[in-house]
């Protein structure tokens, strides 16, 4: 079936470092949506874009749908960025298909 794979599974950063999270998907997508989740917490939508590059704050999402890949760049990481980052693939109005996430730990 359709799959979304995220890498790396986990990432340890020193505060101030940049990070690049990858997302690959197995079939045609019309958009990627990135979410952030703390342990036991709700999903917060970070960025959603069908293709190209989109920014918000220190986050940049790049989606190349024809190559079935996307990435989330975190610049100047902060301790409060620690948590799980989830990539989800959308196909028109159908339900999102999620990856299993990248767990980010930022230490001082």
């Amino acid at each position: 079936g359709q799959q979304v794979q995220q890498s790396p599974a986990s990432l340890v950063l020193q505060e101030g470092e940049n990070a690049e999270l990858q997302c690959n998907f197995s079939s045609t997508a019309t958009r990627l949506q990135w979410f952030y989740q703390r342990p036991g917490g709700s999903l917060v939508s970070l960025l959603s874009n069908p293709s190209g590059t989109k920014h918000t704050g220190r986050l940049t999402s790049t989606t190349v749908t024809k190559e079935r890949r996307g990435s989330l760049h975190i610049s100047s990481s902060q301790i409060t960025d620690s948590g799980t980052y989830l990539c989800a693939m959308g196909q028109g109005g159908r339900a999102l298909i999620f990856g299993t996430g990248t767990t980010v730990s930022v230490s001082p």
């Binding site: 979410f35 036991g40 709700s42 069908p50 959308g90 109005g93 159908r94 339900a95 999102l96 999620f98």
Partner: protein, 115 residues
């Protein structure tokens, strides 16, 4: 910030008991999704609605799970006879429309524990 409201936040049920959770989508959002997230971060889509009409649902949902989104009332997801494997975080999401670029917003979830 998402304005999808889910209640209760936590639910504890015995095996065989009914478990019911509710969701109020963001105002003006006609499309509602239910997902199950297990302890391994795996998401399983359960069902979605546009207004009161079911758009998609999986086989599991058809057997022990029931859901509805009546007009002017919260949406609900009910497990008729809870099993240990149903313990998970149940997430409700809503979106403005079914479309190529439509962003989806999630509530805080209902964490179900079946003992």
């Amino acid at each position: 910030n998402s304005k999808v409201i889910q209640t209760p936040r936590y639910l504890v049920k015995g095996q065989g008991q009914k478990a019911k959770m509710r969701c109020i989508p963001e105002k003006g959002h006609p499309v509602v999704f239910w997902y199950q997230q297990n302890k391994n971060n795996e998401f399983k889509f359960l069902i979605n609605f546009q207004n009161q009409e079911v758009l998609q649902q999986i086989d599991m949902t058809e057997k022990r799970f029931s859901a509805e989104c009546p007009s002017n009332s919260p949406c609900s997801l009910e497990i008729q006879s809870s099993e240990a494997g149903d313990s998970a975080l149940y997430l409700c999401a809503s979106s403005l429309r079914r479309g190529r670029d439509t962003e989806v917003f999630f509530g805080k979830g209902t964490r179900l524990t079946v003992v």
